[in-house]
């Protein structure tokens, strides 16, 4: 990453440009998950009884717990962004470190759920509900994993003193992505665990 003042139009324009770039990327992500949400809607309309019977096999308590973990991780991200806007680098690293930990907790719970399902003989090929369940939660899990990587990169950047109140771009952009991953889960919880 070059120095923030080097872009044509100055740092303010560079910041707005980066933001529009991330929102454009998120638009492609909406459509990526949108295809799966569409598949879910089509097959749920076709096999309502199967979806109802199968969704009862999921553990709502774990779904609730993981949602709370992910929402908390969104809070720590936004507090991290707030910190770096005030030039508090150490606080940013602390909040983003906490977010990475919460992401890891989320994936561990997901691992426990998947292994329990495998033990009960439920696999991605079992039926259309579980095909969608494993595909959607799996793709979402990959996003969590990638997000953790991006946040770790921001923690390293901040550690090297590259971020300040006048250059917050990497922290803000990675934050937008993390909130989006949270957004997707906000819809996956009811669709998979609650109303099947």
């Amino acid at each position: 990453m070059s120095s923030p003042g080097a872009e044509p139009g100055g740092p303010a324009v560079a910041f707005e440009t980066a933001k529009l770039g991330v929102w454009t990327f998120l638009a492609t992500e909406v459509l990526l998950f949108g295809a799966l949400f569409t598949a879910y809607a089509v097959f749920r309309a076709k096999y309502p009884a199967l979806f109802h019977a199968e969704h009862l096999k999921l553990d709502r308590a774990l779904g609730l717990a993981n949602t709370i973990v992910l929402i908390t991780s969104s809070l720590t991200v936004v507090l991290g962004v707030d910190a770096i806007r005030k030039g508090k680098t150490r606080l940013l690293r602390m909040y983003y470190g906490a977010t990475i930990l919460l992401g890891a907790v989320f994936l561990c719970v997901k691992y426990v759920e998947w292994t329990a399902e495998f033990r009960h003989g439920v696999f991605p090929g079992t039926n259309i509900f579980f095909s969608l369940y494993f595909t959607m939660t799996g793709l979402h899990g990959i996003h969590v994993l990638l997000g953790m990587g991006v946040l770790a990169y921001v923690v390293v950047l901040a550690g090297r003193g590259r971020l300040s109140e006048s250059y917050t771009t990497p922290a803000e952009m990675s934050g937008l992505y993390w909130h989006f991953v949270d957004l997707v889960w906000i819809y996956l919880l009811p669709l998979l665990y609650l109303i099947g």
Binding site: A27, L31, K46, I71, L75, V78, R85, D182, I186, P190
Partner: protein
Amino acid sequence: MNNGSVGHRRTYLGVYAALIALTVITVLVSFVNLGMMNVVVALLIASAKASLVALFFMHLKGESRLVWGFALVPIFFLLLILFGTLMDTQLR
């Protein structure tokens, strides 16, 4: 329209409390049989939560109309794909 006006820690904590409350409510409601209304309630609560995250955590509240456009246009295409496909599969 600047980011500083919405960047208060108290606001973030309030939004967080609302998100947790809505999450607990939606899980509790799922144990009550409301028929088709279960789907409606669950999706309404999810959309309320999504709006809170987008407006406050993603700072859409203080953003320019250009950014709002970038955020809303994909929703339009998502609905197009969703309802366009359902019109085909349901009326086939």
